[in-house]
Structures are given as C-alpha cells and as structure tokens.
C-alpha cells in the first residue's frame, strides 16, 4: 500500500469523461421529453383558460380583432356602425361561459355563434362505445385463443399480425371506411346517411382491436403456468380452465386493456373525421352522422381566428380530451400495476 501524500493510489476516484457525458445526455433527453409533455399541457390549458376566467378585456380583444379584419376593408359601408353592431352583441353572445358551452347546438360560425359542446361529447361517446362494443369481443377472444389455445407456432404468426394492425396509419383506416366500408354497410343495412356513427365505430374498432388484444394477451400470458396446470390436473377442460381460472386472475389486465382501447378511440381524430359525416347532432341514433370532439378540433382549428372565443372553445375541448385520456390511461396503469399483482400476494 502506498501511503505517501501526493502519490496516486489505484483506488482514487477517476474522472471518466465518456461516462459523465453519456449519463448527462441520457438524462437531458429523458427530462426534455418530460418537459415537452408538461409544456404542451400548460399551453393547452392556458389557451383554454379564458373560459374559466371570462374578462372584460377578452371582449375588447375580439372587438379589436374583428374591427381589424372586417371593419377597415375598403368599400364597406359605414364601418363605425358595423363596429357598434359587433360591440353591442359580442359581450352577450360571443362569450364562452359554461352556460354557453352546455347548449345543444354547435354553430361556431354565424350571426349568433353557438358553442354547445353537448353534441360533440355525445358524438365522441357514441363512436367510442361502438368501437369498444365491436372491437373488444373480437380482441379478447383472439387474445384468449392465442394465449391459451393456439400451438406455439400459430401464436407466433397471429400475435405479430394483429399487432401490425396497430401500426396502420389511421388515415388509411379512415380512407378504407370512407370509400369501401361505408358503401358495403349501407347496402347491407339500408340506412339513409352513408357516413354515420356506425361506420365510424366499426372503422375505429380496427384501431382499437390491436391495443385491446396486445394488453389482454400479455395479461393472460402473465398468469403463471402452474395455475392452469392445477386446474387441468383437476380434470377441468381447457375452456373451463381459461374461463374460470385464467380469465378471473387476469381481469384487472383485461379491464386495463379496455380502458386503453377506450382512450385510444376517444382521442382518435382522422378515422372519425373521414367516416362519421361530421354533423354535430344531439341524437343517440347510431345511424345518423355525428361529429366528435377530436374531429371538431381537426376540422376547425385551421380556420379559426387566433385568440377569439371559437379558438378558446376549441382549446377547451382539447383540454377536456387531454384530461379524459390522461385519466383513463392513469387508471389503466394503476390497475395493471397494483390490482393484478395483489392477486398473487393473497390480499
């Protein structure tokens, strides 16, 4: 052992540049993606904020914007009068209060804009529920088959193929629904509107199936093999084992799969924009056109006046979508993490 001061000892801490750099680069990348999500979150809510805090200033801004856009156009008669006209109704009608938002009509452009988001919420729910109703049974049964019944070789073919469906761009699914599915379904069922919630829901099921399938499949294969062996050794058939032993043990995982599918369908834009007809109707008839929250943002955001009430309401809808999908994903995560694990610890 060297004991003299000043001498280097092999146990002295060394500075390793590559280690230092790689650690900090990874850290920076990880935190920046985290920061981006937070910033988007903040931005969406900030833009939607005027709905919660309606101010006098807001009305002035829109008046100013409108006067700039329309009032000073050459050839317009009596600009001052039209300005007065705007300012006279703007505070009473063109303010997005909660009262305004809960209306049954969505007519954001017009003499008297109406910002009732109810038909949009109904539209989103209709398409989402239909997508889950069509997609979930198929996905869950396929997962049961590939996890519990299929021979290994077959499983290795089925699983990647269904998961491949998840990588389909939604515009392709939407296009397929718009061009082919809608016509076929109308010929079969003979309803009057070619594009409607039913077509949208069915097309959306194609987007939901791979998610529900994958998560369910994982939940089922995570059930230890000794569990199904115990059941088979008692003289249970394969199907009884799947239904009464494996499925109950995997329920939290299957529930999480459904939630994730719901979240996917709720936030999906392109498929519904193309396949549902986009009429904001407050009806529960599945064969009538609908407009979803996401499709509304997709269709209208590009044409809206920056900073005005319509713009704010669209951001409010966006924030609501954000909250719903975030909550659903969080619940799903919670379920898989805690409930599924608890079952095997005997709590």
């Amino acid at each position: 052992m060297q004991k003299k001061n000043g001498n280097t000892n092999s146990l002295d801490r060394k500075f390793r540049l590559s280690e230092f750099l790689s650690e900090y680069i990874i850290k920076t990348v990880a935190f920046s993606s985290f920061a981006i999500i937070i910033l988007i979150f903040v931005f969406v809510f900030k833009e939607a904020a005027p709905i919660f805090f309606p101010k006098e200033k807001k009305a002035e801004t829109s008046q100013f914007l409108q006067s700039e856009t329309y009032g000073e156009e050459p050839g317009t008669e009596q600009p001052e009068n039209s300005l007065e006209l705007y300012s006279s109704y703007t505070p009473s009608h063109d303010v997005a209060s909660f009262k305004n938002l809960t209306g049954k009509n969505w007519q954001p452009v017009g003499e008297e804009p109406k910002y009732g988001v109810l038909p949009l919420i109904i539209g989103s729910l209709k398409v989402t529920v239909l997508a889950i109703l069509f997609g979930a049974p198929i996905a869950i049964l396929a997962a049961i088959f590939s996890a519990l019944f299929a021979p290994k070789g077959l499983r290795e073919i089925i699983k990647p193929i269904i998961e491949l469906l998840a990588s389909f761009p939604s515009v392709v699914i939407g296009f397929f629904a718009l061009v082919t599915l809608a016509t076929v379904l109308q010929n079969i069922f003979g309803y009057s509107y070619r594009l409607n919630a039913f077509v949208g829901g069915l097309a959306m099921a194609l987007a939901v199936i791979p998610i529900v399938y994958t998560v369910t499949e994982d939940a089922l294969t995570a059930i230890p093999k000794y569990m199904s062996e115990a059941s088979l050794a008692l003289g249970a058939t394969k199907w009884q084992t799947a239904l009464f032993v494996v499925m109950p043990a995997a329920t939290p995982g299957i529930f999480a799969a459904l939630l994730l599918g719901f979240g996917r369908a709720f936030g999906e834009t392109m498929i519904v924009l193309m396949a549902t007809g986009n009429a904001p109707l407050s009806t529960f008839n599945i064969f009538e056109p609908v407009r979803t929250m996401s499709a509304t943002i997709g269709a209208e955001m590009a044409e809206v006046v920056f900073g005005d009430t319509h713009y704010t309401v669209l951001f409010f809808i966006g924030a609501s979508l954000f909250v719903v999908t975030f909550a659903i994903n969080a619940i799903a995560e919670f379920y898989v993490r805690t409930k599924l694990m608890k079952r095997f610890r005997g709590e």
Partner: protein, 255 residues
C-alpha cells in the same frame, strides 16, 4: 412383491422423448393399490417426468413423444379413445410448488366439483368440509373459508391443494415433491396426512428426501438417467437393495 396386492396402474415399456432427447428408457412398473409408492433418484433422472406421464400432464409440453402403455382400469391411457379430462379426474395431482387459485379457500376446494356440475350449495358445502377434514386443514380454516387461499402459510397452502384434489374424488394421487418447499413441521403434517390418505387412495410420491421415502412409502422405485434401476419393498430397498448402484445412492455416495 406379495401376490395379495391389487395393482392400480401397470406401466409397460414406457419410452418418453423430449424432442430428440430420451428422458425415460423402457420403464416397466406395477403400482399397487392403496399403497404409497415412492420414486427416488438424482435430479434429472426422469422421476417427475414419469409421474407426469401417469395423468398425461406431459401432453401440455410441446415436443413430447411417448411410446409404450400405461394401463389404468384395464385401459391404455395413451389410447386415442381415452378422454384426458376424465382420466385426470380419477388420477389427481399435487405439485411441488403449492398452487392455490387466487380465490377463497372455499372456492379453491369447490372448484373441482363445480366444473363437474355440482351446483347444489349444501352438497358443495359438504364436499368442501369433507375434503378439508381429510386433508387435515379443516380445524385451522373452518372459521374463515372466505379468506384467500394465498393468505395461508406454505404448509397450509399445500394441504389446501390436497383438499382441492380430494374434492373431485380421485382414485390415485400423484405427488411431485409435495413437501420440498416446506418447513419440518409442515412436512411432518403432510407425511402424517399421506399415511392417512393411503387407506383410501393409491399414492405415488416423488421425493428427493431419502428419509421421507423411507418413512412414508411401502414401495420404492429408484430411477437413474431415465432408467428404472430397482423397484421393491421400501424396507428391503433401504436395508438390503439388490443392486450396488441403488445402495450407493441411498447411502449418499452420489446424486
């Protein structure tokens, strides 16, 4: 072997392959009724594999090929006409790792009768109570049958698994090292239980523990490298085995 014994299972020229690897080599063996037969041998000798051929649990493993016959109730259980589900009802199995379902104690025991179509509540209650009594667990759990089976101790879980197997009223019980993961007190309880159970059931037990084989079994089969080396009366096996190889193993010289 004494002639007054009834045979429960007759195994003839059994060969088993995992893919290309041969795991059992021409095994022939007659298992006597209402006796405990112990299967001993070093790890990987094929004793657990042999046990699992008796209720066709090896069917679940891909790439397993089986030749030869296993006669049970005058039928070759590997014949195409035999229903595996019915076979497993009559030949129950207890695993090395206790594997109760994540359900209540009651539901664990009632599972077998339920899938066999027993739905009458009082009849189920009766079966559950009788099975738990026979597996010597009743006194410990009778007040909280609704508790999760997984909340029991290791030894209790294993007895719960035995109760679950008894509830379908099998004729044969296959036990794959049932006490290897348990503490000595729990092991004693399981051994006492085996002693009680053999009055009604034929028991075949795989064990790593020589003393356990000597204590609980009437007959012992010694396996080595997929061969059945010697099969005889347990007392004779542990005092004066016919073969030197058996003696060496029992004395702990290898394995």
């Amino acid at each position: 072997m004494r002639m007054d014994l009834q045979t429960e299972i007759i195994v003839e020229n059994l060969n088993l392959y995992y893919g290309k690897k041969k795991a059992l080599n021409n095994v022939s063996l007659s298992i006597p009724e209402n006796k405990v037969t112990a299967l001993i041998g070093p790890s990987g000798c094929g004793k657990s594999t042999f046990l699992r051929t008796l209720n066709r649990m090896n069917d679940l493993i891909e790439g397993v090929k089986i030749e030869g016959t296993v006669l049970f109730d005058d039928r070759n259980i590997y014949d195409n006409s035999v229903d595996v589900v019915e076979l497993r009802k009559r030949i129950g199995m207890i695993f090395q790792k206790s594997n109760p379902f994540p359900k209540s104690i009651y539901e664990n025991v009632a599972f077998g009768p339920k899938i066999n179509g027993v739905s009458n509540k009082s009849q189920l209650d009766e079966i559950v109570e009788q099975s738990l009594i026979r597996s010597a667990l009743w006194d410990e759990v009778k007040d909280d049958l609704n508790k999760s089976g997984l909340a029991l101790s290791g030894g209790q879980q294993q007895r719960l698994c035995i109760a679950r197997a008894l509830a379908v009223n099998p004729e044969v019980l296959l036990m794959d090292e049932p006490a290897s993961a348990l503490d000595p007190i729990s092991t004693t309880k399981i051994e006492d239980l085996i002693y009680e159970l053999k009055k009604k059931y034929t028991i075949i037990i795989v064990t790593h523990n020589m003393q356990q084989a000597a204590r609980v079994s009437d007959f012992t089969a010694f396996f080595y490298m997929g061969d059945l080396i010697e099969f005889t009366d347990t007392r004779k096996m542990f005092t004066a085995p016919d073969l030197k190889q058996t003696e060496d193993y029992i004395r702990g010289r290898f394995g």
